[in-house]
């Protein structure tokens, strides 16, 4: 399972190019957003509600189409070849909702097969569930009795089993208790070490600073700040965030 990607890709694994989304009601959800996530990197998108983080992820997943610009997964333009692009991505949502009448193993079996992995066994599923921290006695229980944290673990287990080179995470730690949040971040660290490219939207400034290679701050559909971990080493991210969100500063076109 712990496949480390050997070949370092030159081009970004996830990329947003001049990404703009204007809804029919006139709302400008994304305004010329550009960023890149290379192999073995974690990019954290920070921003308040309605900043455009989820819209960006939805465009990567081709759940909505951009008004202009494009998103690429592994170099494939998502709205032009959505099915091909989705073969290279896994997704974990804010509130992982799987089929409540299925057990954890059944859900894993369904979603990994749906992701194209048809040769995995129950033992593989169990190993991954244990890796993400789900106790063995929960593996055969129906999802309807699971807590949010347990469902989140199943979601990340599905992403791991799909073994795609890129992972999209939509506020994955929201609502998790500190211990579960920490475990989750450790897991992300491991996945990055395996060579996965991860795009994560989050409200959690501190965890973002701790784990991300690059942090982008979004406000009203614009990517107003983008800095690497090294650039933020001595900066007060919280202060920066508040200032950018208040609209005092804007540095990214």
């Amino acid at each position: 399972m712990n496949t480390i990607l050997n070949e370092k890709k030159e081009f970004p694994m996830l990329e947003a190019v001049n990404l703009t989304k204007k809804y029919e009601d006139g709302l400008l959800a994304l305004d010329d957003v550009n960023f890149k996530v290379h192999q073995g990197e974690i990019y954290a998108m920070l921003g308040g509600n309605g900043a455009g983080k989820t819209t960006t992820i939805n465009i990567f997943l081709n759940l909505i189409e951009p008004t202009s610009g494009e998103t690429k997964i592994n170099g494939i333009v998502t709205h032009q070849q959505p099915l091909e692009a989705k073969k290279h991505v896994s997704f974990v949502s804010e509130n992982v909702m799987l089929y409540p009448e299925f057990t954890a193993l059944q859900n894993l079996d369904f979603f990994t097969r749906l992701g194209g992995k048809t040769n995995l066994t129950k033992d593989d599923y169990r190993q991954v569930l244990l890796r993400v921290g789900l106790q063995e006695d929960a593996h055969s229980k129906k999802l309807k009795g699971f807590s949010k944290g347990m469902r989140q673990k199943c979601g990340i287990a599905i992403a791991i089993l799909k073994n795609s080179p890129t992972i999209l995470l939509d506020e994955p730690t929201s609502g998790l208790d500190p211990k579960a949040g920490l475990e989750f971040m450790t897991l992300l660290d491991e996945l990055r070490d395996e060579g996965k490219s991860i795009l994560m939207s989050t409200h959690d400034i501190f965890r973002a600073k701790e784990i991300a290679n690059t942090i982008g701050i979004m406000n009203n559909g614009k990517l107003v700040m983008q800095r690497s971990k090294a650039e933020l080493e001595n900066a007060d991210l919280e202060k920066l965030y508040v200032e950018y969100m208040a609209g005092y500063m804007e540095e990214v076109a």
């Binding site: 409540p100 749906l114 194209g116 999209l168």
Partner: protein, 489 residues
């Protein structure tokens, strides 16, 4: 991919608690309806045989061929186990007599009105009402439920074409509902064999067709449920729309067909028809009497100035000719009245037929009506059952009358009158003119049940089956196109 999605859909349905409840309810209702149907069929057969034997005994009491009357009985059909249709509404027998109109009388509902109030719960009723309700209960959130639960985003984060997803939803829901419902139906069919219900090959063909039609009807509601689920964002909205649609399609439209049609086509009642006939007849005769009076005045005027003897001789000379002329005119008047009366009856019959067709066509807007009409046709308990019997009984009446008239003539013809003789020795003596030995009941023609071939049962169902297919394809097509534009977020 498609197979995986279908399997998931199937598992999702079968593992849900509502599936167990639905399966048990349907199994219980189907087996109960078939069980009651079998029992009712055997009861009616017993009544039919007893009534036939009694009628034979009654015939044996007849005093002459002219007094002989027969009874034509409607034989119960085993297909009524599946669809009672109009079976209990129309009479079970008709008295056949030369001088009496033959009409089916003594329906089950006229004997036991309580059943008319609540009707029988047959297989067709269960499919029409219960199956369709379960179909919408299982499909109302097929698409929007996944969006609400959040599983839609996760599913479509994989390389799944929308067309595959919606097709798998349809096939999965279909398999998840139809196959489990076929189990109690097959057990029900086994009951028919165990209880030795006399079923011919034609009956089995009709039963298979009826089950296929039931599956088609259920398929429509599955497709319709998915359609509504794919055009709405929230499952609470789709549930309300489907519930209202279900009530409209299953209960309202089939009933408003006749009411709406009668707004467009008025059919006079029997009383109105008779009154129209009577007024015409009365007016025509009055006119005729007026004309005759004028004619006779003219004839009398021809004799003005003649002596009484000449008048007498003139009258005797022309009287026969005058009577012939009068008779001819009278016959023409009678003919005119008969023609008018027949034209009125034809007109009413045509209006009735047009009304019936319009009513049925209006009600066919609903697949529930189409299904019920198809089920009744296949079960030979359709709206024309009464006409078929009455036509056959009319033919039998014709044969029966010809036979009794012929026999009456051969036996000396006393028309079953009584002979009353008064004798000072023995007093008053009443005797019939019957020659006991001349009534051989074995020669009496027997009533044969009207034939209704498979093609006669199947051909009228084609339009209904076609309509159900159209509605199903329309619903699925609608769901398919709606889902292609569905907001997956």
């Amino acid at each position: 991919m498609f197979r995986l999605l279908v399997e998931k859909e199937l598992k999702n349905i079968i593992q849900s608690p509502k599936f167990l409840a639905t399966f048990l309810t349907c199994s219980f209702l189907i087996l109960l309806s078939i069980g009651i149907g079998i029992n009712e069929y055997f009861n009616m057969m017993e009544q039919y045989n007893t009534a036939k034997n009694l009628a034979k005994t009654e015939m044996a009491q007849a005093r002459s061929w002219m007094a002989l009357s027969a009874k034509a009985f409607r034989e119960p059909d085993p297909m009524q186990i599946f669809s009672a249709g109009v079976n209990y509404d129309i009479g079970r027998y008709s008295i056949v007599h030369e001088r009496q109109d033959s009409k089916l009388q003594n329906s089950v509902y006229s004997d036991d009105p309580i059943f008319a109030v609540f009707r029988y719960m047959d297989f067709t009723f269960i499919v029409t009402v219960v199956f369709s309700l379960f179909a919408i209960l299982f499909t109302y959130n097929t698409v929007n439920g996944e969006r609400e639960n959040g599983t839609m985003r996760l599913v479509f984060s994989n390389a799944i074409p929308r067309s595959t997803f919606i097709s798998a939803k349809f096939v999965g829901s279909w398999l998840g509902l139809v196959i489990p419902l076929l189990v109690p139906i097959l057990v029900g069919l086994l009951l028919l064999v165990v209880f030795k219900v006399p079923l011919s090959a034609a009956h089995w063909i009709k039963i298979i067709m009826l089950i296929s039609t039931s599956v088609l009807y259920l398929t429509f509601f599955i497709a319709f449920g998915i359609l509504i689920s794919a055009v709405t964002k929230y499952s609470s909205v789709s549930f309300m729309i489907l519930l209202v649609s279900w009530i409209t399609l299953v209960f309202i439209i089939p009933r408003i067909g006749v009411m709406t049609a009668s707004q467009f086509i008025s059919v006079p009642t029997v009383a109105e028809l008779e009154s129209q006939k009577d007024s015409f007849s009365k007016a025509r005769w009055e006119k005729h009497y007026g004309e005759i009076e004028k004619v006779w005045r003219a004839r009398n005027a021809e004799m003005n100035g003649m002596s009484e003897a000449d008048r007498q001789s003139y009258r005797e000379e022309n009287e026969y000719k005058w009577f012939e002329e009068d008779d001819k005119v009278r016959n023409e008047v009678q003919k005119e009245i008969t023609e008018y009366s027949s034209k009125l009856s034809d007109d009413v019959r045509n209006r009735k037929a047009t009304l019936e067709n319009l009513a049925l066509n209006i009600s066919r807007i609903s697949p529930a009506s189409s299904f019920q009409l198809a089920a009744m046709n296949l079960s030979t308990s359709d709206i024309n059952l009464k006409n078929r019997y009455e036509k056959e009984i009319q033919n039998f009446r014709q044969t029966f009358s010809t036979f009794t008239q012929k026999k009456q003539k051969e036996s000396g013809g006393q028309a079953g009158m009584f002979r009353i003789s008064i004798d000072s020795q023995s007093g008053v003596k009443i005797s019939s003119g019957r020659d006991e030995s001349s009534l051989n009941l074995r020669e009496v023609p027997k009533f044969t049940q009207p034939s209704h071939t498979i093609s006669q049962a199947v051909v009228p169902t084609i339009i209904d089956i076609g309509l159900m297919m159209f509605f199903t394809l329309f619903s699925f097509g609608g769901a398919f196109f709606s889902f292609n534009k569905y907001d997956l977020r």
